[in-house]
Symmetry: C2
Subunit: 158 residues, 2 copies
């Protein structure tokens, strides 16, 4: 009986310790996973793949582009990407520069810069350079999805 | 000896359970605290108090306004606010609409809308309506500070 109790105690201590250790190593893994996800997302946009591009958003995602109210429906978010990726000679993408994950591994944010080009109505090539801030949330199935996505130009106002 | 072990076991179970309960109730408290902080922050800006306004940022904060690269130094962030709050007849503020906190209570994001007015160079009153996305991080002293702050206009491009 006494040995059983000691074993139980040891087990509890080991479990508590290993949970902490796992939280640490999961955090580094989550940061690497989010960086890779963000780069893959940019590639999907660069390939003008609308379906794949919108698949990175959570169901409740909010997208916040300039000169528009926040987009909160799947339809509005899809329409925005369809317009952007469907622009004449669209090309470009974005690169994450900072990823930070909560200790609990359920919430994170990513910042970075983008560079997107297209041909304007007058047939002239135009390039926008800007920055973005994304918030990601780990879903019930363990996959990270973007819940808030905001971006704006870094170029001077015309 | 056996009773001591049983007591120890009980104590461990109670501690584990109460930690979980505290995490839940802390989360609701954190959400309420962040909403109140964001409203107080807006009031400081409305009162044109530059010192108080910049005090809501963490040391490593990044501010991401339109038509500018990301601001990453205290000096650049302060200069931006000084310019904004010092505009002729500046008035207005912002209102949080959504607050979400990580389970671990160390990271959170806030979204909302702003409305800011001033008098332009021609003496005409102008109002900008837009939205924002803030990421907050709990500091070592338990206070929440903003680590990433992005905003852009919701009005159509001129």
């Amino acid at each position: 009986m006494r040995n059983t109790l000691i074993l139980l105690l040891l087990l509890l201590f080991v479990l508590t310790g290993s949970q902490r250790y796992m939280a640490q190593s999961n955090r580094a893994a989550d940061e690497a996973a989010l960086k890779a996800l963000d780069i893959a997302w940019s590639k999907a946009a660069g390939a003008k793949d609308v379906d794949k591009t919108v698949s990175y958003y959570a169901d409740e995602a909010m997208v916040m582009p300039s000169n528009s109210p926040a987009l909160t429906t799947k339809e509005a978010i899809r329409a925005m990407w369809q317009g952007m990726l469907g622009a004449p000679n669209f090309s470009g993408g974005w690169t994450p520069t900072k990823v930070e994950v909560a200790r609990s591994g359920d919430l994170a944010y990513v910042t970075g810069t983008y560079e997107l080009s297209e041909t304007d109505a007058g047939g002239k090539p135009v390039t926008d350079k800007g920055k973005y801030l994304e918030v990601w949330k780990k879903q019930a199935d363990g996959n990270w999805k973007c819940v808030a996505d905001m971006f704006n130009t870094s170029l001077p106002a015309r």
